[in-house]
């Protein structure tokens, strides 16, 4: 099988993994080729509008597992292929030289056994890091069930590692991936978390301690394959951030690839809007000082599709508003719909010089169309309508499209 065919098969098999970040570590070129930048660099955007930052391929799609949602499950009749370590290393180096990519995202189906697969992954990483002295970004998947020593070895070579938990709770996991259990997925996460901490502390004493997974770990959950509510998903997300110190939790709107009684039908469109709202909530958790209970609760177990989660929170808490821009704390400013992290920081800097007025807010990058109903400037409320959750919702939520009534 030639490289062209292998690349075609193994890219097609890897594309449902969403993570493509190349951020989190800043490093100069200490070897022959490659460097990384703290904020990450996107190199291209494919036809679905997702960024391409890393060469995302599977080492092999020959899997012993039979997870129901997965395109590579054992019982599927799809073309199978495997790269050799040399082939992947060459592709990475040559793509990187031409500035097509920022590094490698290496994942693999579980071939023969977790240990066998993990060893193969380590062979690729060793070739890149030691032989080619490649210093670009490498994101690698941990194969659940692999020996902790192998995980550690890979951790010294990679920048970021991830285990995909795929389902937010034990119950769905049992239904969807009968050969996997949550403890099996959590134990490598805990290991990586502990070792990151140990090696970070050692580095403070011994300068030559090697870096271990410097860009941290991430994970991904499939949205829309099982029946879980947004609340379950977000609670698990928040739990993962708190317990394992993850850098990112990704959501992947499920694209039906398999016919199965427990899954949505093949013609179902992926729930893109739901995925978008979940990402917005994720941002609220990570940058806006929100707690999960504020975004979703048993009465509102699913996020509203019409308005974003922050607006939804604001309309449920009218007692918090209107807020005086010139007195509110940073955390309070972040709660206002239409004010983001950057504009809140600008407001803080500018109001140290002089009180901020309504006209200036637009120049500071505030989405005034939304913010106007929730704020006062120098004590003056300037919204086009009085603040009242029902009115504001009517103005800001998109109106359902008018449709022709059926005659019959």
């Amino acid at each position: 099988m030639d490289t062209m065919t292998k690349l075609s098969v193994l890219t097609g098999a890897a594309k449902y993994d969403v993570s493509c970040a190349s951020s989190g570590v800043s490093r100069g070129n200490q070897g022959k080729m490659g460097s990384t930048s703290q904020c990450g660099i996107c190199h291209a955007w494919s036809d679905d509008g997702r960024c391409i930052s890393l060469l995302k391929v599977l080492l092999s799609n020959d899997c012993i597992y039979d997870c129901r949602y997965c395109v590579n499950r054992r019982s599927n009749d799809v073309p199978r292929a495997s790269f050799t370590a040399q082939e992947i290393a060459d592709l990475t180096m040559q793509f990187y030289r031409r500035n097509y990519i920022e590094g490698l995202f290496l994942s693999a189906a579980v071939e023969k056994s977790p240990d066998y697969t993990m060893e193969k992954i380590i062979r690729v990483l060793t070739l890149l890091r030691r032989t080619y002295e490649f210093y670009g970004y490498i994101h690698v998947k941990i194969i659940p069930g692999a020996d902790p020593l192998l995980v550690q070895q890979a951790g010294f070579l990679a920048d970021r590692m991830s285990v995909n938990i795929e389902q937010p709770c034990e119950q769905s996991l049992r239904l969807m991936a009968p050969q996997k259990t949550l403890p099996m997925l959590y134990s490598p996460m805990a290991q990586v978390r502990d070792e990151i901490k140990t090696f970070k502390e050692d580095r403070r004493r011994l300068r030559h301690t090697p870096k271990f997974v410097p860009a941290g770990q991430s994970t991904q959950m499939i949205v829309g394959a099982s029946q879980d509510s947004d609340m379950t998903i977000l609670q698990t997300t928040s739990h993962l951030y708190k317990i394992f110190g993850l850098k990112r939790v990704y959501f992947s709107a499920y694209v039906p690839v398999n016919q199965d009684s427990n899954l949505p039908a093949l013609a179902t469109a992926p729930p893109l809007l739901r995925e978008h709202r979940l990402y917005q909530s994720d941002w609220l958790l990570r940058y806006y000082h929100f707690q999960v209970e504020e975004i979703v609760d048993p009465q509102h177990a699913n996020l509203e599709p019409e308005i974003d989660p922050k607006m939804s929170w604001a309309l449920r808490h009218p007692e918090f508003f209107p807020l005086e821009i010139n007195r509110a704390s940073y955390e309070e400013l972040l709660r206002v719909p239409g004010i983001g992290v950057k504009s809140a920081q600008r407001i803080l800097r500018q109001r140290r010089m002089a009180a901020v007025s309504n006209d200036e807010l637009k120049k500071l990058g505030v989405a005034y169309k939304r913010a106007q109903y929730f704020i006062t400037c120098k004590g003056i409320y300037a919204g086009s309508h009085p603040f009242d959750p029902v009115t504001v919702r009517r103005i800001l939520a998109p109106q359902p499209q008018a449709t022709q009534l059926s005659l019959f």
Binding site: M4, S8, N29, I41, W45, D48, G49, L91, R98, E102
Partner: protein
């Protein structure tokens, strides 16, 4: 008094020097595009390294840490009247000192921040959207950026591809950065690259078909998820004006694998 300069940063800083030590400037203009009028007197300024260095140092010492960065980035912008915008900003900055960047909405600060931000964004974009082709002798990239971003790209690639020989060509401004792949001189922290002006576009098409170009196009096509197709979103990130230099937007016919 209108000051005319030769388009270089040193020339521009020399004008600022004259603004303070000779006669206040009504405006600063690049020499090629100046239209003399009856009302204004004008003077052609020759760049003076010492005067420029003095202004450079003064900006560094008297204004905030980011100001010099903002000024240089704004200077690289392709923007009418950018010189006047920078002049206003510098005048205000020498009076206010390091607090200047906190006045986000000040009429002399906001326009400068805006164009500096545009240039920063384009630099970051092109760190990714630049494609080298390999012709066997050196790597060659061609681009047509909105702003004059070559100097800001050079350091990044000199670090990243330090053992490669490469040329990045700005086809809009007929300029190119050349890096020869030599390791940096002892004691110097920066790698050496050169900016040259070109008379004609370089002719360095890859002779033989490069197999990795085909592999990249294949990869680009296969990574997209069909049921999430969203060309409008894609166009937000990769505007059409950049696409003619992007390999992956060339037509691609995929044989069934």
């Amino acid at each position: 008094m209108d000051y005319l300069y030769d388009g270089t940063f040193d020339g521009f800083l020399t004008c600022i020097y004259h603004n303070y030590y000779d006669e206040a400037a009504d405006g600063i203009y690049p020499r090629e595009f100046y239209q003399p009028s009856l009302m204004n007197r004008w003077m052609l300024v020759t760049p003076d390294q010492q005067h420029a260095a003095r202004v450079y140092q003064a900006i560094e010492e008297k204004m905030a840490g980011d100001s010099l960065h903002n000024i240089y980035y704004a200077f690289l912008a392709q923007y009418p009247n950018k010189e006047t915008i920078i002049l206003n900003y510098i005048r205000l900055g020498f009076r206010m000192g390091s607090t200047i960047d906190s006045y986000h909405t000040h009429p002399h600060v906001q326009p400068l921040h805006k164009i500096a931000r545009k240039v920063t964004a384009e630099v970051h974009r092109f760190l990714g959207l630049l494609r080298f082709s390999d012709n066997g002798r050196f790597l060659h990239a061609r681009l047509a950026p909105d702003h004059n971003i070559l100097p800001m790209l050079a350091d990044h690639f000199a670090e990243r591809l330090k053992h490669e020989r490469w040329i990045i060509e700005d086809e809009k401004r007929n300029q190119a950065v050349i890096y020869d792949g030599f390791s940096r001189p002892k004691g110097s922290r920066q790698r050496h690259w050169y900016i040259i002006c070109l008379d004609d576009p370089l002719n360095c098409e890859a002779g033989a078909e490069d197999p990795y170009q085909e592999l990249w196009k294949l990869y680009f096509n296969r990574i997209a998820i069909e049921s999430r197709r969203n060309l409008r979103l894609q166009a937000q990130f990769v505007p059409r004006r950049y696409r003619k230099n992007l390999l992956e937007f060339e037509p691609f016919s995929e044989g069934d694998p």
